[in-house]
């Protein structure tokens, strides 16, 4: 029998991990993002992506969208801990599989190569309505808005076609239909 060498308990089995998207409305003030990010890092929750910007200048409100994974218990804790922060007004969270919610991420992709490669590259993104923001003889900058995993796939396919730089916003979310959050 092995002796326990710790004054703490041993971890019990981890539950199933789900990916969730949190939408948080906060006062747009100094340090508010640090409070949210600090809550995640301090309690050992992970952040897959983070998008934040002011959405209501008059009310001084920012909207933060965070993609994270965790067991149902952890997801509930994140919600409740976020709600406790003083500058936080409202917290909503959705499973990634939730059909009632639109999740989108925007990406800017720079491809360098000859026109053949560039055309091939544009073809790869065709399904996602690529917008050409800048084009030279040797390069193109494309804007694509799609699901995270679609962009992942696209980037994989564009790599051999001269993709040199990718910039992504992280997911943002909006409910379908006339409903609003909460």
């Amino acid at each position: 029998m092995v002796k326990s060498r710790s004054a703490y308990s041993t971890p019990s089995k981890l539950g199933k991990l789900d990916t969730h998207i949190f939408v948080v409305w906060v006062d747009n003030e100094a340090g508010v993002l640090a409070r949210i990010v600090g809550l995640f890092s301090g309690r050992g929750y992970n952040i897959e992506s983070l998008a934040v910007a002011e959405v209501d200048h008059k009310k001084n409100l920012s909207r933060v969208t965070i993609v994270t994974t965790g067991t149902p218990q952890v997801i509930e804790q994140i919600t409740l801990q976020l709600k406790k922060l003083v500058p936080v007004h409202k917290v909503a969270n959705f499973k990634r599989e939730d059909k009632k919610v639109i999740f989108k991420e925007m990406s800017l992709l720079k491809i360098v190569g000859n026109s053949v490669k560039i055309n091939k590259a544009l073809n790869v993104c065709k399904k996602f309505n690529p917008v050409i923001l800048d084009q030279t003889k040797k390069s193109v900058v494309i804007q694509v808005t799609a699901l995270r995993r679609e962009i992942d796939k696209m980037i994989k396919n564009l790599k051999p076609l001269g993709l040199v730089s990718a910039s992504r916003t992280g997911a943002v979310a909006m409910t379908r239909g006339a409903e609003i959050f909460n």
């Binding site: 029998m1 326990s4 308990s9 041993t10 218990q73 406790k84 003083v86």
Partner: protein
């Protein structure tokens, strides 16, 4: 147009309007304008500590014994970093503190100026909220909001960082407004349905137990009264966490003693075997639950807490009631009476078998120890201290370690706010400065810090504060020359490799007391103990009591790591039969 006041004046006007009587602090460059203003506000008395950590713990002691928020005033840089331990301690144990720190002038922020540090950055994870005041016009609102945040909901520490130029700048003062809850944060979210559900569970239960915590104390003295009424109405057994001691009388027959790692045999077994567990203002701390997977496996669990994030954090519960403990208990009692269930009569019959089982556990007498005529046993010292002080309204603080557990086990509290100990963070050095704060809040009362010789040396300097303000705190050191709890774990878990847990050189505490200008007493043998304790009580000055105790004594009972509640280590006899087992050589 109203009068213009400087930032420093506004700080004091806010403190006056928040009915602050005492602040604990230490001056320095970046708070000098506030210190300059102190003389103009005679209703606010400043207690000068010797180290900012001491200011924080003293404010905690003040807050926990008075029910009012503690106020701390420190300078920038090292002043602020020194108070971080106390803020974290207050955060873990839900103590309302308002810490005001000076900061370098706004134009120097970010330039690595002298005594500059990112105070709001450093204290963000150890406060409920903090503010860096960048505009003088925000100061009155922020100050009032700080008190509001610290004292409402689950209480906790907050910090307001005020740059020096803001302390000089002028603006109009605003009185505190009774504002609606900040960003819609409501406290009571329960309804009658929840209460009915609870009463339904209570009336069906055959093996109920109340598990109460610091939330009852934090809810105010009324909560303790209501708790007593609820317990007598139901006849249910009750156990308490370390922080909850005093909410229910420690010498009552329905009280099972403290639960958890060093709790009583009957309390822990009741937790394990019960069919209804009613958690009132406690948080399923890991020192309480033991092995999570085997925690109270057969029970329906109810959790009453003001903090929604405490619910289902560690233990999944069947019924959660989010609200202030007083309000929830009041509703429960009201409904119980209205339904006229006469639980005390009908239930007594129903739960009589349960009580028989508890009585059987009680006969184990798990707090027992083998006393000695030659050497003072630390448990005996605490018991004698209790017997000789129980007729007075005594306030006890502790440091952290074996002495703390012995104090919790053997000192019986009858009233709330009489027991101040660092539970969540486990801060050695907490007790002496906390005692200073307690004595400030309760001038004529007997205040004793039950201490260990290792802990006390961490904040020893605060005895100087006690001497300066004639605060007759009694420092009762159970001196075994070891970091006792470390030594105990090394004995039980690390093959008696007493690595660095023995203090080779200790000061002569009696001489040390004299050097500080207070009284030193030493007790070496059991036969002189009572006489010396009485002598200590009668002295109207700070006293350091050096009680030389058995060096090898261990604190039992104990739930070894990786074990559930029903597998406890009892005293030395039991140990042989029940060697510490458990899987996982994992160092956590």
């Amino acid at each position: 147009m109203g009068n213009l006041y400087s930032g420093a004046e506004i700080v004091f006007k806010c403190l006056e309007d928040q009915k602050v009587d005492y602040i604990f602090g230490y001056p320095g460059g970046a708070v000098l304008p506030i210190y300059d203003e102190l003389k103009n506000h005679p209703s606010i008395k400043h207690i000068l500590v010797r180290h900012e950590q001491g200011a924080g713990h003293a404010a905690e002691g003040y807050a926990r014994s008075s029910g009012k928020p503690g106020v701390v005033l420190v300078t920038s840089g090292p002043g602020a970093t020194n108070v971080v331990t106390a803020l974290t301690d207050a955060y873990m144990d839900s103590v309302p503190l308002v810490c005001i720190s000076g900061q370098v002038p706004t134009h120097l922020i970010g330039t690595d100026a002298f005594q500059e540090c990112d105070t709001t950055g450093i204290t963000r994870p150890c406060t409920k909220h903090n503010w860096l005041v960048k505009d003088i016009n925000d100061l009155p609102r922020i100050m009032h909001e700080a008190f509001d945040v610290a004292t409402t909901g689950r209480p906790g520490p907050v910090l307001v960082d005020i740059p020096k130029d803001i302390q000089f700048a002028k603006t109009r003062y605003l009185k505190p407004k009774k504002e609606k809850k900040i960003n819609g944060k409501v406290i009571n979210r329960f309804n009658q349905k929840d209460i009915d559900h609870l009463i339904n569970l209570m009336s069906k239960s055959l093996k109920p137990v109340f598990y109460t915590g610091g939330g009852v104390i934090n809810s105010g003295p009324k909560a303790s009264e209501l708790l007593r009424e609820l317990v007598s109405l139901t006849g249910f057994p009750i156990t308490s966490t370390l922080q909850g001691l005093g909410a229910y009388p420690g010498d009552d027959s329905l009280f099972l003693g403290m639960l958890g790692m060093h709790g009583t045999y009957e309390a822990n077994n009741a937790m394990h075997d019960c069919d209804l567990l009613i958690n009132i203002g406690a948080r399923f701390d890991d020192r309480i639950t033991g092995k999570i997977d085997e925690f109270s496996p057969k029970s329906k669990k109810v959790h009453i807490d003001i903090d929604p994030s405490s619910i289902n954090k560690i233990i999944k519960v069947d019924l959660s009631i989010v609200g202030d403990v007083s309000d929830v208990i009041r509703s429960t009692i009201k409904t119980l009476k209205k339904k006229n269930l006469k639980l005390d009569k009908s239930n007594k019959q129903k739960i009589s078998k349960w009580w028989q089982l508890i009585q059987k556990w009680r006969t184990k007498n798990s707090l027992n120890f083998i006393n000695s005529d030659e050497i003072i046993k630390p448990q005996h010292a605490v018991k004698r201290l209790y017997e000789l002080t129980k007729d007075k309204d005594t306030f006890i603080t502790t440091e952290v370690g074996q002495h703390q557990m012995w104090a919790a086990q053997h000192y019986k509290f009858n009233k709330p706010n009489r027991w101040m100990t660092s539970g969540g963070l486990g801060t050695m050095g907490y007790g002496l400065p906390a005692a200073v704060g307690v004595q400030v809040a309760n001038p004529k009362k007997l205040v004793i810090d039950i201490a260990g010789e290792a802990s006390i040396l961490m904040t020893m300097q605060e005895i100087s504060t006690a001497v300066q303000y004639n605060l007759p705190v009694k420092i009762f050191i159970l001196n075994n020359q070891y970091m006792g709890m470390v030594r105990q774990w090394q004995e039980l878990l690390h093959e008696k490799n007493y690595s660095e847990s023995y203090s080779e050189a200790l000061p002569d505490f009696v001489k040390l007391a004299e050097a500080y200008g207070c009284i030193g007493i030493r007790a070496k043998s059991p036969d002189e103990l009572d006489k010396k304790i009485k002598e200590m009580i009668d002295i109207d000055k700070p006293v350091i009591f050096d009680c030389l105790v058995d060096q090898d004594e261990n604190c039992f009972p104990m739930i070894p790591s990786g074990k559930p509640h029903n597998q406890m280590l009892l005293g030395p006899k039991d140990q042989e039969e029940n060697k510490i087992k458990g899987k996982g050589k994992v160092l956590v």
